[in-house]
């Protein structure tokens, strides 16, 4: 098993060595740090009406206050936490489902694969937006875990398909036959022979899931479908719209969350580019 440790160490070295990946990861870590620094600086969760509304940015309120009586700086910090939390949770659940479906379908083939593929395709075909709008309309509000699960439910298909086709081609490789002749069983083969060669795909799939989840969540909230009690970047933008902050020139309502969203997106994108470069040596600077 020591070759796994060696491989792991080499992998970390390669990852950190790649400029894009390192830059993206650093950005992401910094942004999360900013978000979670609320606990370090003991900034409480901004409740409605906790401070006087409609204040401009000042020393006391760094980003001013919003129309519901909340310190916008605190709102921003907690929004970062929420968005990242939802994104990563949806990403992890989605990728896990995708791996399971892709692996089992790809390796087993036959009827199992047929069934799993059909399920995948059905989910792909269901229009996400109308469904979420319907759910929101009927349920009034979605709690954060429920929203994350919903996002996950619609983000695993991409991974599943990509993983399935990779598994199908990998299982025909001669080293899988050799593994069978060496006494390895089906699950051992999946995890020790096939999975290690799929890490780049799984990693990219994960990052894409997270990116998709964060952006989709923000988009849903901007149009007003999010959990109103919570605070997230999308909601910040939603409230800006509701109060027509653009018209009134209250840039401190809009600009900070947009910048943060863009930065998160850039960070994730850089990570993705870095992963692509590492797994496809031809993309590395020749």
């Amino acid at each position: 098993m020591s070759y796994i440790k060696v491989r792991f160490r080499n992998a970390i070295k390669t990852l950190m060595g790649n400029k894009k990946f390192f830059a993206g990861l650093t950005m992401l870590v910094l942004i999360s740090f900013v978000g979670y620094s609320a606990y370090i600086f003991q900034i409480p969760f901004p409740k409605f009406g906790s401070v006087p509304p409609f204040r401009k940015p000042s020393r006391q309120f760094l980003l001013g206050t919003d129309g519901l009586g909340r310190d916008l700086f605190a709102v921003l910090l907690y929004s970062i936490q929420t968005s990242l939390y939802i994104g990563f949770t949806a990403g992890i659940i989605g990728t896990a489902i995708g791996i399971l479906v892709g692996f089992v379908g790809g390796y087993k083939g036959g009827l199992t694969d047929h069934v799993l593929r059909s399920i995948t395709d059905i989910f792909l075909v269901i229009p996400l937006w109308p469904l979420l709008i319907l759910i929101s309309a009927s349920v009034r509000s979605l709690s954060i875990p429920v929203m994350a699960s919903l996002l996950a439910a619609f983000s695993w298909q991409g991974s599943a398909r990509a993983i399935r086709s990779q598994v199908m081609s990998l299982k025909e490789r001669e080293f899988v036959n050799i593994a069978r002749l060496s006494g390895l069983g089906t699950f051992e083969i999946l995890f020790k022979e096939i999975l290690p060669n799929m890490i780049p795909y799984v990693a990219s799939g994960f990052v894409m899931s997270v990116t998709g989840a964060i952006l989709t969540e923000a988009a849903l909230e901007i149009i007003g479908l999010g959990p109103p009690g919570a605070t997230s970047i999308g909601l910040m933008l939603y409230w800006s719209q509701q109060f027509a902050a653009t018209v009134k020139g209250w840039w401190w309502w809009l600009v900070p969350p947009i910048i943060v969203l863009i930065l998160i997106f850039i960070a994730l994108f850089l990570i993705l580019l870095g992963l692509d470069e590492i797994s496809n040596p031809r993309l590395r600077k020749a």
Binding site: F175, N177, I178
Partner: protein
Amino acid sequence: MNEATPLLEVKNLTKKFPLGGLLRKRYLTAVENVSFQIVGDKPNITTLAGESGSGKTTISRLILGLISPTSGEILYKGRNVLEMLKHDSLTYRKEVQAVFQNPFESFNPFYTVDRLLRVPIKKFKLANSKSDEQRLIEEVLDAVGLTSERVIGKYPHQLSGGEAQRVTIARALLPRPSLLVADEPVSMVDMSLRAGILNVLLDLKKKYNMSILFVTHDLSVAYYLSDNIIMLNRGRIVEKGDAKRVITNPIHPYVKTLIKSIPMPNPKRRWRETISLDNLEEKEEARQGCIFFERCPLSMERCRKEIPEMVEVEQNHWVACHSITK
């Protein structure tokens, strides 16, 4: 098992692969009604020979249990192989091992080369301690003419084709198998390195008391190595028996054409006559009579309808052709 039980016995083995088509199920018959034996009393090398599409690789995969037959039986030392693989697969895997054509494909590119050797040692419980394992690895590497410094810690792309193939042979030797299935082991290796590997196989037959089922299209190599040969054409056996006899005195028209077409490395003995052309792709349905009917210079009406039986024409030399049974 007594002395007379063959090491491997293949009985009426057939394999058909389904080809797409939801309504009209079509099949490709890769192997049809193949029967042969490998004797068990002393180690010997049997070659499964044929061109591409002859079914030789499919037969080897069936024997290894990597695919399952449509019909027919495979018996190893008298026991049904499919049953063994279901209930007692480790025993079978220890006794029957394989080496494949592409040395680099046999390695998982994620790991170093020595993992290929450690996995069977662990799964077959061949060593009790780290030092035991090390000793065993050195022993098999030595048997194929390699040293451990050359191999340990390296990745597959750091070895040459010949070295990589030797490592795969070393892996196969670990559980001391009685039968080694070697599928085109030298066809992807440089010519100057082939002799080394072929001689290693000959050597191992003696030292490890191991029989080899050698799969190839190269009859010169088959002549050099084998004791027995089985000639296949589109899934059926057309001629089989003692390798030297079959190759120097072929009887089946297909085998005759094949052997005449082998280029001789001697400019003073070049091909004299011209040969006729290959036909268009044979239709799958035309399998009623002799498999070679459409291209055979000796074909008769009987050949169209009747599949010829395998007949022993001289000691250990069998042919399936109507032209000899008048």
